[in-house]
Symmetry: C2
Subunit: 285 residues, 2 copies
């Protein structure tokens, strides 16, 4: 049976490291602070916000929420972002999306300072990921995959890593970060002819296709590490990954469950990136 | 023996298409125009400039040169770029680099309007390549690889393509463009463990490692198409690719020679991107 790569274990270790890092910063008079911008009251946003605030509390990171009505004007929203950009108290900023249709989301995204863009919504962060430069940050879900691999000491150097999915949100940026970690990276997608073989050849398989149960025994081989980025729901509302878990568990060496895997690490990564932003903004790295 | 994928053939076809496209634009009162910014008199720059100007002449694209002394000030150079950005007569702009050390090259790069950035020096162009959006343009050398594959009707959909090299200039952007063409893309590099196998498995192999003769018989298999992006020089000054040409020619189905391959298509691509920029800027695509 495969070893389970559990969010709870990763989060516990990260919580400890981050708490120590926050204390170190506080000793220098710096309080890492997350600004949250939420427009309206979408249940998904509220749930994620609660999670993020809990992580902040656990680690000593401060949070300031900017809560705006669903009919907020574009100008008012941009003014809030300008305030966050301009105030050195705020190290990182999370803006919930999608925004209401009355808002030009592209304009809002690009208004945020890349230095405070801890979830890769700006072009500046995207260039940073592509060019392997510390402009902005990768998205939390992409970085969560790396945090899990690091926690379980999966060295990526020279490894054959296959990424299933070529989205701008996960597949492509993840491929870039894996290359920066010296992995040999293959990106597969819906048009790939021999998906099974492409996946079987991988030493590390990252699945971000967004299709429940796409990957199963026929794609897997013994010794593999499988990271399942998929978050899908069946008709009964049960959360499912992109990988058929029972089949995979019997074959591979290590796997992230869904739920309790990648998705459950993203809020801790968010906090980590706020702390990292605070370090950068204070010239500490 | 492999079929030779020759720049001369690709250029001849592109010349014809571009001449027709330029005539069509001129019938609408639009004269596609390239602005060249050259600081100093480096022999490499002069040679490339002559090539670019010849391509422009062949196709009916106008050229305006902004020639600045090697000791030009940063402000003066930025003012020239502002002039080019602001004048709708100029559709695309080529800035020779490296710039003298007295100049902040990063500031110069980012000053150019991405819409006129026909050789991918701005972050805007880079985001366009990464996100597969028509912001700016890919670099001419990267686009030249695709032009050659297109000319010889190599359909990339579902094909296993291996890119050797992960540079920001060639390997990474090329991987992104190949994904957009529906190829299954693997990126190999110096840390790849089984480079030979990785290359042999490819149906299309693109080599952009920057090391003369790195790839030979042991990396190749029958039926492959090989695109050699390498431009290296031996002790006698002879130009060599990254592929051992004689070994490859005996095995693979198609290959670009060096010289007379990828490098010799770049100036024609430059002109093509000026014409495309003129179309975009006039709302014709």
């Amino acid at each position: 049976m495969a070893r389970l790569f559990k969010a709870a274990e990763v989060n516990a270790a990260m919580r400890e490291q981050l708490s120590a890092a926050v204390q170190e910063l506080q000793a220098k008079g710096i309080r890492p602070t997350l600004a949250i911008v939420r427009v309206g009251e979408r249940p998904d946003d509220l749930a994620y916000e609660r999670g993020a605030m809990r992580r902040c509390e656990e680690t000593g990171v401060a949070v300031e929420r900017f809560l705006l009505p669903a009919d907020v004007s574009q100008d008012k929203l941009l003014a809030v972002i300008d305030e966050i950009n301009g105030d050195p108290c705020y190290n990182g900023c999370l803006i919930f999306r999608p925004l209401p249709r009355t808002i030009d989301e592209e304009a809002v995204r690009q208004r945020l300072s890349p230095a405070k863009d801890i979830d890769c919504i700006t072009d500046g962060s995207m260039v940073g990921v592509f060019a392997n430069l510390p402009n902005g940050f990768p998205s939390c879900v992409v970085q969560a995959c790396l945090e899990i691999l690091d926690h379980y000491q999966v060295d990526l150097t020279g490894k054959r890593v296959t990424v299933v999915g070529r989205s701008l949100v996960v597949g492509k940026p993840l491929a870039m970060l894996l290359l920066a970690r010296n992995a040999t990276v293959t990106v597969c997608h819906t048009r790939t002819k021999d998906m099974e073989e492409c996946c079987r050849q991988a030493e590390v398989l990252v699945v971000a296709a967004g299709r429940a149960g796409l990957i199963g025994a026929e794609h897997l081989s013994p010794g593999q590490i499988v990271i399942d980025v998929g978050i899908n729901f069946d008709e009964e509302g049960k959360m499912l990954g992109d990988v058929r878990f029972e089949e995979a568990e019997a074959i591979v060496e290590g796997i992230t469950p869904v739920p309790g895997g990648v998705g459950a690490v993203t809020t801790m990564v968010l906090v980590k990136q706020v702390v990292e932003a605070a370090r950068r903004q204070n010239g500490l790295c």
